[in-house]
Amino acid sequence: MTTLAGIPVRVVHRLAARDRRTGQAQRASEVLAQIGGLLDGLLECGEGGVIDLRAIEPGLDHDGLACLEVALGIGEVHATVSATGETVVRETGFPAVWHITHRDSSGSLRTILIDVSWCPEILHSQRADAEAGQRRLRAKLVSEQAARCSDGLP
């Protein structure tokens, strides 16, 4: 009698490269549709959203991410934030759809986000920082005024 171990079943993990690329292009289209949904929400209700491209399931590999980037295109805004490593914020060809890449201080890529909003939070200045800046600026103006007075200048 044939035992279970004798049944010639073999699990195949690898997809052909072409099938994998096709699958990734399809997945990128699905993510694009999801982005479209968030954009609808932003325009209708004022609520967009954020998609973590490295955390979605099923995921996007290098080919899939490239497909998505091509589909999104490039917009007018390109900003670099130097905050414990480089963060690059690009508006895509679809206004209010932002492509954000976070790298750490060693340059390692940490996460890739699609942020659907009027302006990504990381680009906003924070009130507390502005207030601290206001204090510094006032102190600087006072200091410069004092220096002009001591030089006999108006």
Partner: protein, 324 residues
């Protein structure tokens, strides 16, 4: 981390003192949310909650090698994950603090009293279950008594490392000290087990950040470990996984197959039965992990791994087809 007496300033204030801008912190929260599989849009809320947090942390060490503390501390460069560790108010830690003797004991008791029910207790090392055994005595108290006294007022406990989680190497046969993990002693406080020998520092950071943001514990598995970090095995996301099924596997250390990135299962790798985030988070800010360095997983985040058979003995679930 630095020890500071007196009332703790907010975590946000401490970060600014360290020269970490609010944008850096928001970025950290985005990365942390991603690593914890939280919705990416939660980062601003997390940043706000953490900025206003005043975490009081007491760190107690028992039968330990200090490896877990080293894992927390020895991060090279400005690792964004360690911002929280740099900014928490660590009010008691025997290895790091300069104070000793009665003054340090009194200080700890004052911190406990002032923050009763609210402080986070971090524990590393195993504890002899018999308080009269004499195997761990500090300040004339048994480890058992010290743990019970400190745990009583903790909001929750983080058992860092496999020793504190499950007993670790001291618990290994024949367990001469009667060593056990925190959960075998403390039954009335929430406990998060961050197992590993040592655990990845970012896991500890993530656990603290999750609690400070949501004021609740993350989802835990049956062994009390956060599922976001311990829900998968090391094998699940291992880059050598393809050749586990299809071969060829490495036959000896550093042979051509090993150097080519093939599976190390035949060399004793316990990845298929070990739950941890080593394959994804990796170590030293994502630099590498044992399997990437050519050494199989030893299963260090699982209970009783020291007694689970030889580190270089192939596991029983090996496929005979690959005996080539």
């Amino acid at each position: 981390m630095y020890l500071t007496p007196g009332a703790a300033s907010t975590l946000g204030e401490r970060l600014l003192q360290h020269g970490i801008s609010r944008r850096s912190f928001l970025k950290f929260c985005s990365i942390l949310a991603s690593s914890m599989a939280l919705p990416a849009a939660i980062a601003p809320r997390m940043a706000l909650a953490l900025s206003n947090a005043r975490p009081c942390v007491i760190y107690m060490s028992f039968q330990e090698c200090t490896g877990c503390l080293e894992s927390l501390l020895n991060s090279h460069g400005v690792a964004i994950e360690n911002l929280i560790l740099d900014a928490i108010s660590l009010d008691y830690q025997e290895t790091l603090q300069a104070a000793a003797g009665h003054q340090s004991e009194q200080w700890r008791d004052e911190v406990i009293a002032a923050n009763y029910g609210k402080y986070i207790l971090i524990v590393d090392g195993s504890i002899p279950q018999d308080g009269n055994s004499g195997y761990f005595v500090s300040a004339a108290e048994s480890g058992l008594a010290r743990l019970n006294k400190t745990a009583a007022g903790a909001a929750f406990i983080v058992a860092v490392g496999t020793c504190a989680s499950f007993g670790g190497i001291a618990h290994a046969y024949p367990n001469p000290t009667g060593a056990v993990g925190v959960r075998d002693i403390v039954k009335d406080r929430p406990i998060i087990n961050v197992s590993g020998c040592p655990p990845i520092a970012e896991v500890i950071t993530g656990v603290l950040a999750y609690y400070l943001t949501f004021q609740k514990l993350p989802t835990l598995d049956s062994l009390g470990r956060p599922t976001v970090y311990y829900g998968k095995t090391v094998h699940d996301d291992c880059y050598r996984e393809e050749s586990y099924e299809d071969g060829p596997r490495a036959k000896s250390f550093d042979d051509s197959f090993a150097r080519n990135g093939n599976c190390l299962f035949n060399l004793g790798c316990k990845g298929p039965v070990t739950h941890n985030a080593c394959s994804t988070l990796r170590w030293n800010q994502g630099t590498s992990f044992p399997i990437q360095s050519g050494h199989g997983c030893i299963g260090c985040s699982e209970p009783d791994f020291w007694d689970a058979g030889g580190l270089y003995v192939r596991g029983p679930e090996a496929d005979a087809e690959h005996d080539d």
